[in-house]
């Protein structure tokens, strides 16, 4: 229970690390994902002219991102970075980014 988790006031608590790496991870992660799934298609003149980011391969960047974020989150030295990247992935997926991935993933099938 939560009360059991409360340490005695006398115990010296290590200072909590600054929010910096995690906040930066969130910002970097969401920006990178929007850049890949929104910026790149715009830069290439729309999804039809993108062969490398359509069809099932649309899921590759997000899968690689997830693996990298998990590895960073699990390693103690980079855990806050990883946490930020994971939260960034969640924000991207929930806030419209998922639609972009779906649109690209469905693109090749639509062309066929």
């Amino acid at each position: 229970m939560s009360g059991g988790n409360l340490p005695s006031r006398e115990e010296a608590e290590p200072p909590e690390p600054a929010l910096g790496p995690m906040g930066f991870g969130i910002l970097f992660g969401t920006t990178a994902l929007y850049a890949i799934y929104v910026g790149v298609p715009i830069a290439f003149g729309g999804p039809p002219s993108l062969r490398f980011l359509t069809g099932p391969s649309a899921f590759i960047p997000i899968a690689v991102y997830l693996v990298v974020a998990i590895v960073l989150a699990v390693r103690p030295r980079t855990s806050r970075w990883g946490a930020g990247l994971l939260i960034g992935l969640g924000i991207f997926t929930l806030l419209g980014g998922g639609v972009c991935v779906g649109t690209l993933a469905a693109q090749m099938r639509g062309q066929a």
């Binding site: 988790n5 998990i70 855990s79 806050r80 994971l86 997926t93 806030l95 991935v101 779906g102 993933a105």
Partner: protein, 252 residues
Amino acid sequence: MTGLPFAGNGLVHAGFMGLGILAALVFYAFEKRRRGLTDPRLWPIAGFAVAFGALGSRLLTWDLSREVSLADWWGNGDRSILAGLVGAWFGVHLGKRLTGYREKTGDLLAPAVALAMVIGRVGCLLTELPGTPTGGPWGITLTSGQALVIGGQAGVGLHPSFAYEIGFHLAAFALMWHFRDRLPHPGDLFICYVASYAVFRFGVEFVRGNEVLWLGMSRPQWFLLAVLPLLFWRVLRVFGEPLRPTLEGRVA
């Protein structure tokens, strides 16, 4: 209540969802500090919850019987809070397993989830089909244009089912805040919250207006019917255990 001026507006929906996630993370940080929890693994675990919750809300609703590809489903398929909660639960367990964190985290996460739901559901209330018709004066009446966008009935008062849900999560948050240090075991708060939400959600589905799957019940209701016995068993353990020492004392 009349009309739904933001019907089908994805930006408004996403905005409130974003605010909900932000509020949940701020509350998580606050509660972590209040409980004196400084373990650095707790933030990655929160990250696992958010990421897998988001992925779960999209992927775990994938209906193979509709013969829709995963790509199509990802882009245009159903979204579900229940699937998101299952995904988040899996994410937390995966995060704990990978980081080697052994303590219970549910009590830390449950009020944050309730807060996110209060705010996130405002986005649903403003943009989605409110519910089934009601004769009550509190019903939301859609214009023909709004009904066309979100696929509802125009000119009829509809149950504001998301408002009911906001009320539930608000009450749950207040109760969890009140009892946050009073339940006997770690994780009890989470169990009580999830179980009560499951019961509430099962009931509110009758006025939600979701597609009926079988025997007058929707897909979420069938899912809840499957998990409710397990949740009920867990709740019995929460409220049953304090009685045992008393009973044993009497026997002795």
